[in-house]
Each structure stands twice: as C-alpha cells, then as structure tokens.
Amino acid sequence: MSLKRDWTSGELRLIGISIIIAVACLTSVNFFTDRVQRATEQQATELLAADLVLISSQKINPDVIKQATDAKLIFSLNESFRSVVLKDDKLELTEVKAVDSNYPIRGHLKISDSLFGKERIINSIPESGTVWVDSRLLQVLQIELGDFINLGASKLIVSKVLTYEPDRGGDLFNIAPRLLMNRNDLDATGLILPGSRIQYRLLLGGNAEAITQYREEIEKNQGDNKNLSIQSIKDARPELKSAIERAEQFLGLAALVSIALAGLAIAMSAQRYATRHYDNCAIMRCLGLQQKQITKIYLYQLLILGLLCSLIGCAFGYIAQEGLNRLLIGMTQTSLPAPSLFPLLSGILAGLITVMAFALPQLIRLRTVSPLRVLRRDITPLPLNNYVIYIIAVLALIFLSPWQSGSIKMTMNTLLGLCITACVLAMTAKLMLRLLKRLQPKLKMSARYGLANVTRRSNQSTVQIIGIGIGITVMILLTLIRTDLLENWKSRLPDNAPNYFLVNIQPNQVNDIRTLLANSLNENIPLYPMIRGRLIKINDEAVNIDNYSNPRAKRLASREFNLSYAEIMQEDNKLTSGSWWTEDSKQSNSNNNYFSVEEGIAETLGINIGDELTYSIAGQEVHGNVTNFRWVEWDSFNVNFFVVSNPEALIPYPSTFISSFYLPDSDRQILIDLVKQFPSITIIDLDAILNQIRTIMQQVIRAVEFVFGFTLLTGLIVLFAALQSTHDERTNEAALMSALGASRKQIISGLVAEFLFLGLITGILSAVAASIIELVLAEFVFKIDIAINPLIWIIAPVACCLIIVITGLSGTRKVLRTPPMIVLRKI
C-alpha cells in the first residue's frame, strides 16, 4: 500500500534499517561463530594431530577404516603402550608410540639433534630401525644419539631427540618418557600379544563436512564398537577450552544484545510511525474500514517490510562473512566449507520475528484509533498495556537467543540484566528530571528552554534515556569487557608464562633444586608436593563409575588424582565457598584432615562442603572433610591441583614435587645443569603448546573485535531511533521559535542545551549501570579480575553528550535551513 511512500518519507526507514542491521548482525555472527568455531577447532585439532581421533583398546575394526577410506578421509593408525626400554644394565618404563607415515595428520613433529639442542620441524617419522625419544629417556638411560636400545625383541637406534608431538596432551605430568617408532618395526618387537594393554588410535583428517558426517556415522554405530571412543577438541587442553568458551560467551552476549538493541530501535521507530498514522487511520475508519482490515493492512505492510529488509540484512551478513573468511585466512589449514543456507533462513526468520515482536504491538494500536479523531484531533488510541509489550519482546528474545548465546541460563541472565537496567534507569531518570526541574527558573533562556523540553516531556525523555542509556551502557560494557577479556587473556599468557615444568622431584632434592633455581633465575620458584590418590568414598558411599552418567565424572571417578597439600592457598586460586583452614580452625577440630576442592570437579562429582572424602593413597585410606571450594585459573599454566589438603593430612605419604617456571631460550644451559645434577627429574617443555594457544587466542580476539563493531552499530541505531522519536516535535518547535524571531544561533543553543541535559543524565546513569553490570558479569560469567576504570565516569557522560548533540543536531539541521512557513503549514 503506502510502503514505498512511507519509506521515501523516512517513516519506515528507521524500522527497516534496524531490521537490516539486526539481521546482518545475526547472520554474520552465526556465520562467524560457526566459522571461528570450526577454524579454532581446526587449529586446535593440531593438539589432536588430527581432526578426529578414534581410540580403542582393541584393534580398530577394518570396517571403520573402510568407512574412512570411502569418505575420502586421510587416516593414520598408531599404537601406544607402555614397555620397558633397556640400555646395558639400565631400564626405564616408556610410553611407546608406533606410527605410520601419515602421522601426524595435523601439526608437525619437532626434533632436535642434541639434548636440549635447537628444535626444528620435521615432516617425517623415524625410519625403520630407528626411534626418536624424548630428552628424559636420554637423561635417565644416559644414552646418546646413535646408541642402541632394546625394546622387546628388537634392537633399535636412537636417532633423534623428540621435542614435540602435537597430540602429546593429556596429563603432562604423569607420563613415562616417550619413544616414537616406526609402525613397521612393531611386529618384530614381539610386544603385541593377546591381552597386552595397547591403545589403538585411528587419526583422521579431511574437510569439515566429511569429518562431521563420518563422526555421525560412527556415533550411530557406536553400539557395535563399544570400546571405541571419539576424541575431538573438547577433550583437548582445558586452557584452550576455557578461552574459547569465554570468547563464545562474549560473541553470544554481543549478538543477543545487538538483537535486543535492534528490537528497542524498532519499537521506538514503530511508535513514532504509529503516532504519525493516527490521522490516516481515523480517516480510513470514517470511510468504513473495519478494525481487522486496519490490522491486516499494517500486518501485511510489516510482513513485506520485514521480509525485504531481512533479505537485504542477509545479503549484508553474507558479504560480512566473506570479509571474515579473509580475516581468518592463515588460521585454518584446510579450506572451510561453503556457508550453508541455514544461517540465511534463520536470518530471515529472525528478522520477521524481531519486526513482528517489536513493531506489531505498536501498530496494532492503530486499529483502536477512533473515527471521532477526524473531528477531535486530541483523541488518541488507548495505550497498549506496557506489560504486554515487554512480555512479547522478552519472549521473542528468548526464542531468538539460543541460536546466539547457546545457553538458556546466559540468555535469561542477560535479559534479566537488561530489564533491571531499564527499570533502574527509568526510576533514576525520573528522579533526576524532577530534581533538574527545580533548577529551570534559574537558567538563561536557551538552557531553560532546553531543560524545559527535557523535563516537560518527562515520559518521552525517560523512554529516550532508557533507550539511549541501554545503548550506551551496552556500548560501555562491551568496550570494558572486551578490554578486560583481552587484557585478561594477554595477562594469562604473558610472554613470561611458565614454559617448563619440572616433575618427579624427590623430597630430598627439593632444597637443592630450589637453591639452584633461585641462583639461576634470580627468583624463588615454588615447588609443590604431589601425591597420587584415588577417591574411593564420598561420605559413606563408595565412588563407582556406574553412579555417574557424565563422561567427565566417569573419567574422574576411575583414575588417580594428583593431590597436594598447602598451609595457605595458592595466590591465583579464589575461594568460592567455605573457608581455608587456619591454625585456630585446625585446633577446634579433632579430625585434622581437610580438603579444598576445585569447584568444577566438586560439581561434576557431586561433592558438597562438609562431605567426608576418602582417598586411597599407597594402599592406605585417608579421610578428610571438605572445608572449601576453589576457583582455579587453569589457563595460567601455573601448577594447580583439583584437591589440596592441609599439610598434616598428606605429609606422611609418598610424594614427589613439581614446579613450573619461565626460562628464556638463551638460558637453556640451566636445563642441562639440572639434568646433570638431578638425573631423575623430568623437564617438560611447553613452549610449543604455549605458542599454539597464543595463535588461537589472537584469532579469537579478532572475532571478538569484529562482533563488537556490530553491536556498537546497533547501539548507535538505538540512539538515533530514540532521538528520532521526538524529532517531529523538535522540528515544529524550531520552526515556531524561528517564526517568533529566534535566530539560528538561539535555536541551536536551545537544542544543544536540551541534548546536553539528555546526554548528561544518560551518560551518568549509563556509567553507573555499566560499572555495576561489569562487576557482576566479570564475577559470575567471565570469572575474570577487573578494576573499574574511574575514567569512565568522565568519558561516558562526555561521550554521551557529544554523541547525542551531534546526532541530534544533524537530525534538525534540515529544519534550520527550511523557511518556517513550510514547517508550520504541516503542523
């Protein structure tokens, strides 16, 4: 009907632009999250040495391999097992891994040609008859490159020092030294016998779609291969997992907030659109149109608008994701699959839902316009019940958000946060407006006129303050969180993050090693005791894998833990509930054993404060009560433990010590000294893993920044929509002022005063709201340390005033150039 006319006259333009931006944001974030996730996973697949790994305790079923060949996947088979390696009269238990020439499918092996020598990438595997071993085996067996060792029935030459294998992963500190051999030599060792404990691994690589399809097939038939387990990035390093999870949370949050903001902009524009259509509707009603016909007209109009704008938004989203593709070049090793149609369809659907949920309730009011308005223009339709509008909006957001944030809890918290922010902003804004009104008579003409506009239109001003305030709050918030997240990630993995671990330190070596490290590194490096123990009882109930359905819980219940003891809590841990033991608390309790449990594991295993845990340590049972839960910064690369006790509880049991420290490349000699002086300790080099994680972090940071840009854009649209909502009145008043003799300067000063008051109130309120929400999010969602920057108290109001004044004035610029008669005729 009047769609084209309304669009050209600018009435529907803002609604349309809001839909376009919301949909573009949604689709590109969908594409983006999808692609980043895949790219990150692919990058992370290097930590698996493949895109997908199947693990079995029995020989991999040939059908499974055939399926892989049929799916045109690259595959590599390897066997891992523990065996004793002999050199003269010395023997050492080693982790043997026999690999074929396709290994590794992702990532590279790294070797050096001498102990702690220069590391280099190698694109081959040990030749038949040779093995590569890690530095520890060389240290323990006191062998040199070129020496023979005995493995089972075979005699093999040690040809290289293995410094890095991509899929080493797992528990870094409890593994025997590695020996990498050619799979062709395996049979000759005679170690593969029925009943041998061997882990068979099938490494797979290929394009993402083929891998996903293959995985689905395997999962479907997993009943036939019960001993087969599938490993993907989710089982890779927890350091990486938490960073990716946080980035995804941020992306989800940003996208959800973008939609909410776009919705707000649409609602505000629709309200203005509706107000402007009262007369049209009154006339149509007079001419005999029924209420339902009016509803139909606006419904169709919105549907067409929603559909068209959603399509345009999708097109923008598609273009944006192409940009992203370029952004991610270099991040992935194989090409990403072409984008599917699903994000486009979901974009269109989301566009329609957004416009229907936010604009329709406003336009439905038009059906209630009384035909009497033709005679009496002051008759306006009944206002919609605000609760209805809010409920529709919240329902729409809940419906739309699972695509975005991936977690209903996160969605609800975000929406609750937005609602609370809106209510608090509304109440405080009303209060501030009331206080400012008292100031009015004392001001000069322009300022008084400006303030009068803000205070007189109290309801509209409040809506504007809420709209702009939420927009600005979100912008400040995302800026702060983004900065916090980035800083936090950087600080978690600073250049001097620990890159070496020392393990297997005997208690009698602790003092000497501490002194050696202190002398060499000029700092006191902490050494932590480590005791192996299996959790056997929680209170009186035996810990049994069958009691848990969660795979992680099953894994945790079936293996030994590394326990430690400490008088005081590690600095980078945070107490989340309960209290740490003190001398007083110990004395007040006759049972002197206490446990501090990491909150994640406590939740997984269903442990509560006060529970009695029983560990089996070296054949003896140790009981103790859980007194507190801790949050542990796993991505810090510092030594950390799931369970820590008070010293008295675990000192009597056999322990080794562990430490981590940063050592620059130039100081590697210290490692040689350490090995020579303490041959039994093991040094683990983490440089390669650290670098890999840093690369992934960089990509995630880019993703965060990109999406952040979109959210800023929707924030600005809200601001524009909010100012537009009173644009007509402002235009008319400017024309009237001009007719009464006001100069352009006087009109502008009045407007500037109005925008400044609006900006000031909004800025102050936004800064307060953003600071509070930031604290809440940092504490409960992102779990990062933050410090509120006092500068936002200055920057927010100033920025708010500037943005509002500039946007507001640019909207009224035209009216200042138009002869007042033309404007006055329209009123």
């Binding site: 006129y449 205070t455 007189r456 002022m737 009464l740 003799g741 006001a742 100069s743 002869p819 006055l824």
Partner: protein, 225 residues
C-alpha cells in the same frame, strides 16, 4: 517609499514544484499597507492567502519580486536576518495557536521578549497575560488550557514585544463562534491600544468588515475589495 507605508510588496510571485509541474500560487502581487492600518486578506481555500501572509512576514521567500518591511528589503536578508526583523517588529497569531507545549503560558508569552533580549521579559509577559484575562493561569501548560485560552496566550505573546505589525492567520478558525467573537474583540482592542498594523487572513466576513481595508486573492492575483 512613503513615510507611513510599513509593508510593501512589489511584483511578488511564488511558484512551487508539484508532481504536475510548476504551479503558480501568487503572481505579480503589488500591495502597500500603511502604518496603523488594518487589512483583511480574503479568498477561497487554496487561493494563496496564507502564502501571501508568509511572504509578507518573512516566514517564506518569494520566487520573484520583493517585500519591504519597515523599510528593509526582506529578499536581501538571510534566514537569521529575517528572524531578527520578526523578533523586533512582528507578532503572529496562528489558527492552531502554535504554543510551545514544553513551556507554561508565562514562558510562552515571554519567549519573544527573551529572544529579542528585552529586560524584565517576565514582568512584561505577565502584564500582557493579565490584559488578555489569564492572570490566574500563567503557570499552566498549553495542554491544560482550552482552545480559547490558548489563543489568548497566543495573542498575549503576539503583543508582548509591542510589534509594529501583527499577522493573524485565520485566528478564529479553530474556535467556536462565541469564543471566536471574544478573541476577535480582544485582537482588535489590543491592536488599537498598541497602535500596530494588523494583517488578517480570514474567511470570516465579519472579521473582514471590521478591518479598514479588504483585499481579495483569486487565481493567484490580488484585487482590492
């Protein structure tokens, strides 16, 4: 120019672009209004009465010809220059009152005084509101006043700066007959007391008859009645 001519239009024309092409609203209008005179501009709807008023008051610019107002050629001024003339010499009363909704009756009335930077604006405005019989309602906002009251505020505002010329565009168009009569009485009374020139655009013959002179606009051209 003769000393007592306060508004003069010479060969004034106004054309606008419409979807059908160029449309001439006013053509070759020549008009002189003497100081203190009251003039009614009458004509059918769409004849261009309000357009002429807008051009004479400097609210719009002509396509051809010129308007001289109180000795100043308006075509030589920019929008700010014309606004200055309006602030100094002109008062307006509109059909739909055009009060600023965010300001009280007193603030609306004192606005032109403040815009012209006149001292004691508030006292002067209050005095005018008392003259129009709204002493009790000076702190009311426009939406708290009836149509007649709003037009009285508009009249108080129009006279607040002691203008030399008062332009009234259908001042009773939105009012009932009884209120309209009160308003017209008030307008002429105040005009007389202030010694201002009055230009009224109207359909109402009764109002036109009370004026010293009447002009008719038809087909974009002006004739003396």
């Amino acid at each position: 120019m003769s000393q007592n001519i306060i508004v003069q239009a010479a060969a004034l024309g106004k054309q606008v672009i419409s979807p059908e092409g160029q449309l001439t609203i006013l053509k070759d209008i020549n008009l002189s209004i003497k100081q203190g005179e009251s003039l009614a501009v009458i004509g059918v709807s769409g004849s261009g009465k309000s357009t002429l008023l807008g051009l004479l008051a400097g609210l719009d610019t002509a396509t051809s010809g010129k308007v001289t107002l109180d000795g100043t050629d308006l075509s030589q001024l920019d929008e700010d220059g014309r606004a200055r003339i309006r602030a100094q010499s002109i008062g307006f009363v509109f059909q739909s009152f055009h009060l600023l909704p965010s300001l009280t009756a007193l603030e609306n009335t004192s606005l032109p005084l403040e815009l012209a930077d006149i001292d004691h604006a508030e006292q002067l405005a209050q005095q005018k509101l008392e003259e129009v019989g709204l002493a009790e309602r000076i702190h009311h906002y426009p939406n708290q006043l009836s149509g007649g009251e709003q037009q009285r505020v508009a009249i108080a505002r129009a006279f607040s700066g002691d203008p030399k010329i008062l332009f009234a565009d259908e001042p009773t168009g939105n009012l009932d007959q009884k209120t309209a009569k009160h308003i017209i009485d008030l307008l002429f009374k105040m005009n007389k007391e202030n010694g201002a020139t009055l230009v009224v655009v109207t359909h109402d013959n009764e109002i036109a008859d009370r004026c010293d002179r009447k002009v008719i606009i038809a087909g974009g051209q002006l004739t003396e009645a």
